[in-house]
Symmetry: C2
Subunit: 146 residues, 2 copies
């Protein structure tokens, strides 16, 4: 927990920015909710408990910043808003998501077997791949069996 905060502080300093209480509180909430996929409004409500005076615009600004700093990543689940999750540095790429069309549950997939596919595409299309995003849609175990 401390480590990520220190990384943020470091990267902010490089950019001439500061680690403010609002930014600290926002990052803390996202770290405490690892595995959730909170949207901006939800993050705002949670941060307000620690930091009641914070404004929604600041949360938006902070999330943008944290994404630029490569601390969190934005997820688009086609539900009309952006969601965020902490980036765990130990993964090469991010994990992926299974989205249940029955109950809207989100399941995280740890497997990442796109390396071969990426290599093939890089050669075939002369394209330098930096990252990818992959979502699967379907029915979860519960929804399938009823």
């Amino acid at each position: 927990m401390l480590e990520t905060m220190d990384i943020l502080k470091e990267r902010l300093k490089e950019k001439g920015s500061k680690l403010t209480p609002q930014r600290r509180a926002t990052l803390n909430i996202i770290m405490e909710n690892k595995g959730e996929h909170l949207n901006t409004e939800e993050i705002y409500e949670l941060v307000r408990k620690d930091c009641p005076e914070i404004g929604l615009a600041t949360v938006y600004r902070t999330l943008q910043l944290l994404e630029e700093m490569d601390i969190i990543s934005r997820i688009n689940l086609d539900d009309g808003c952006s969601r965020y999750e902490i980036k765990t540095g130990d993964e090469d790429h991010q994990h992926h998501h299974l989205i249940c069309q029955g109950c809207n549950k989100i399941i995280e997939v740890k497997i990442d077997l796109l390396d071969d596919l990426e290599k093939e595409i890089e050669k075939e299309y002369d394209f330098d791949i930096k990252d990818h995003k992959l979502k699967f849609f379907g029915l979860c175990s519960d929804c399938k069996h009823k």
Copy 2:
């Protein structure tokens, strides 16, 4: 071209809906622009040439409908709006997209090698996969070499 229109008519009828001139014109524009990834506003502007009285809200509704009918698919390129393209029935899943972070060009990837990965996930997570969406981010040939 005729075929897709007939499929739409068929599916609409099943649902008790009608194939109106507005819907026909919208689908035509999307079919004529295969390979493009038009957003709603762009589709609206193009449809207006054939069908000047059409309203933007109708285009929104029609695109929603065409997506439900599995005739077109929505693409999210994180540029703040939805884009659409015709679904070519001869592909098992859809093709994927390479998004250049240098010039925002979109390149279509015909390769789809996710079948093995899907099987593995279906077993591991007891999840029934219906579809997937995959995007790659990086630098295109032009942007890479300059």
